[in-house]
Assembly symmetry: C2
Homo-oligomer: 413 residues x 2
């Protein structure tokens, strides 16, 4: 295993040296190879699927079909078309002593990814790493082993055909012990990205000596201020909750000014009934919602605030004005995406300034927190940490900086 | 303790809201207050010094005197004059759906610093944090307790006089258990910076759930290529080794092309004798150095490569050309600062591209890796990691990014 990491670390120089055009070409060849190998991928995928119970929700995450494979190839072509993040000159100056100083963007080196059953990660992440000149060490879940092996072989064949080492992208066996080896391989892996359940992310964070970029949970609030246009607020809240509840930028808690709660909350009834949204309401909101005839209604317990539902469920918190709303959000937010709906522009400005989150919204749905939506292209996830990458963690952040200093014999006494 | 962290986390909003001018003013007041309290600081420092044995090297690190206090005040004024890193608009565009998207630089929030006996850290780091709109939680060593208390009280008095909470800068008691509490306080501390011994840094890295910025060891090589101007090479090598051997950017290993080793190595003799530099040489170099009459000479053992000497000591490795030199450096470098001396510009270019380090030099001393030298002002240290801050970790990196999105009711289905 250390042999594999050493080989990938050495091979990283090969992908680092490629020009923008060569990396683009490599990705286009990969997209084509994935399409050409459709049958082989599906056959491998069948072997994995056969081991999973039909009722297991993992089955859908694991499943590939011709449409999904075509979509994966399409994603690779999109990444191919993104701008190369390497080689940017971030600073260029001559120091008073004559030294020529430049700061340039360079690949991170070797990116380690630890993920679970989704085999699409194998291709998505490899494409992002190769596009940005990085080598990759992949450690996927055992459920997807045959599929991942088939996909990794395609990637490695394309690398080899391009005259590069197969070690540029390595797939490790799904052995638990190897995860620990990855997390301590500070000499060979430059950054580790965990993708999957909270438990996986927590394990990686707690055990990694290699720096980690975490794409964490989203406990997202939408605060409806008393100055809100209620129809706008309704559209935003409904969209943020029901358009795709399983993702991290979906709404978890409605924070509502008590003054307008009786006018606003009943407006949600038809949509919430249609989408079968279950509501956990604080006492003030509970009475209003009950009177308005909400059927899927429960009193909120303390644990319903700060809870990431990832489902057709949300909590409602009544507040008396902006300071109370900010305070609630400060206490329960996971600092992912937070929104206000208000016509009062001063209130919006205060909210945007005071709320500590990767993305803050005025009069828009939190569902927009997304690399594609923000114009950054494909993303590895949404970072809720503050170092290096905050918010959409996209191609542009798969680089580091390097100081390059050229002199004519300068010394410093 | 959690109460203190919560209070500092809440108070962080106060310093975050200050304008550039208000932060500058605060720092100038702090510099003045430090000068005015010189006697009180020295009295507190005496209490700490009295507990340390005269022979203990810690004593000098701990010692303050009027000159050192004046220098500390001067450093605070230099930080005051630096450009505010907050509020920079890093991206500003209107998305096709009409959303107004901006990415702006904002303070990290609460910076935790864990350090050892140097009391200057208390002021240096507080100044950098306040200048960049951050609150700080300081955990200094028990040796400097009285001095740190005196300095923290001065900072807190200045904060209070400016109408801010004293909790913006908190000094924790030097209790071992509290360090663990800091390292797990992900809700209240945004980043932890360890400053001090390798053992401290390793402990923090291994135990922190809060993201860490590490300012690590520097195992620095200077490679003298066969095309080198030997007088230039001599000046650079001698400077990199002896100008300040106790710091991380000083030279640890001379890598020398075997072709020019007999001509080059003897040139170092007079300077190395003058500075009493002890040399650990590989067999080829050993013979040359012995013939040249080097007195402080030993055969190198394997552990003398990749060793950070922090002293008037270095190792010498003989190689046959650039590829071997790159390979040696790849194996033993801590990726801090690496240099080549060569007149062949193609060789220099290859070295600068192929060497993976925070700073790479052609024909200059590695001693230049420094925030001040690079024009960034005071630094917290030199980061050898690749995320967020690489190389001099200065004021400009004490910020994070925030995505601010303003709409008119946009939703995403």
């Amino acid at each position: 295993m250390i042999e594999q990491l050493r080989a990938t670390h050495a091979a990283a120089a090969q992908i680092r040296r490629l020009s923008d055009a060569a990396k683009t070409k490599l990705l286009l060849q990969l997209a084509q190879a994935v399409e050409a190998a459709c049958d082989a991928i599906l056959a491998a995928n069948q072997l994995d699927l056969a081991k999973i119970d039909d009722a297991d929700p993992k089955k859908d995450r694991l499943l590939l079909n011709p449409e999904r494979i075509a979509a994966l190839a399409g994603s690779i072509r999109e990444v191919a078309a993104l701008r190369d993040p390497c080689g940017a000159v971030l600073l260029d100056k001559i120091l008073p002593n004559g030294l020529k100083l430049r700061k340039i963007s360079v690949p991170l080196g070797v990116v380690g990814i630890i993920y679970e059953s989704r085999p699409n990660v194998t291709l998505d992440v490899s494409a992002l790493c190769l596009r940005s000149g990085n080598a990759a060490v992949l450690r996927g879940g055992s459920d997807a082993l045959q599929t991942n092996r088939a996909l990794a072989a395609i990637i490695q064949d394309v690398l080899e055909q391009a005259g590069l080492s197969r070690d540029v992208v390595a797939l490790l066996p799904p052995d638990r012990e190897l995860v620990k080896d990855m997390l301590t391989a500070t000499r060979y892996i430059d950054v580790i990205i965990p993708r999957g359940s909270d438990a996986l992310i927590r394990f990686v964070r707690e055990n990694s000596l290699v720096p980690v970029i975490e794409t964490g949970a989203g406990v997202c609030h939408t605060y409806v201020h008393e100055s809100a246009d209620l129809e706008k607020a309704k559209a935003i809240v409904v969209n943020a909750k029901v358009s795709r509840p399983s993702v991290c930028n979906s709404l978890d808690t409605i924070v509502i000014d008590s003054k307008i709660a009786p006018a606003f909350l009943p407006l949600l009834r038809d949509d919430f009934e249609k989408w079968k949204v279950e509501v956990f309401a604080d006492p003030v909101a509970f009475d209003i919602l009950q009177q308005a005839g909400f059927e899927r209604l429960q009193p909120a317990s303390e644990s319903d605030f700060g809870r990431e539902f990832l489902d057709y469920k949300c909590s409602v918190k009544t507040v008396n004005g902006l300071p109370e709303a900010l305070d609630h959000i400060r206490t329960y937010s996971s600092r992912h995406s937070e929104a206000i709906v208000a016509e009062d522009t001063a209130v919006c400005r205060t909210f945007l300034e005071e709320t500590d989150a990767a993305a803050v919204f005025a009069n828009a749905s939190t569902r927009f927190t997304d690399g594609g939506m923000f114009g950054l292209g494909a993303e590895i996830g949404i970072s809720t940490q503050k170092l290096h990458a905050r918010g959409p963690f996209a191609l542009e952040k798969l680089v580091t900086e390097k100081w390059v200093v050229e002199g004519e014999g300068q010394v410093r006494w």
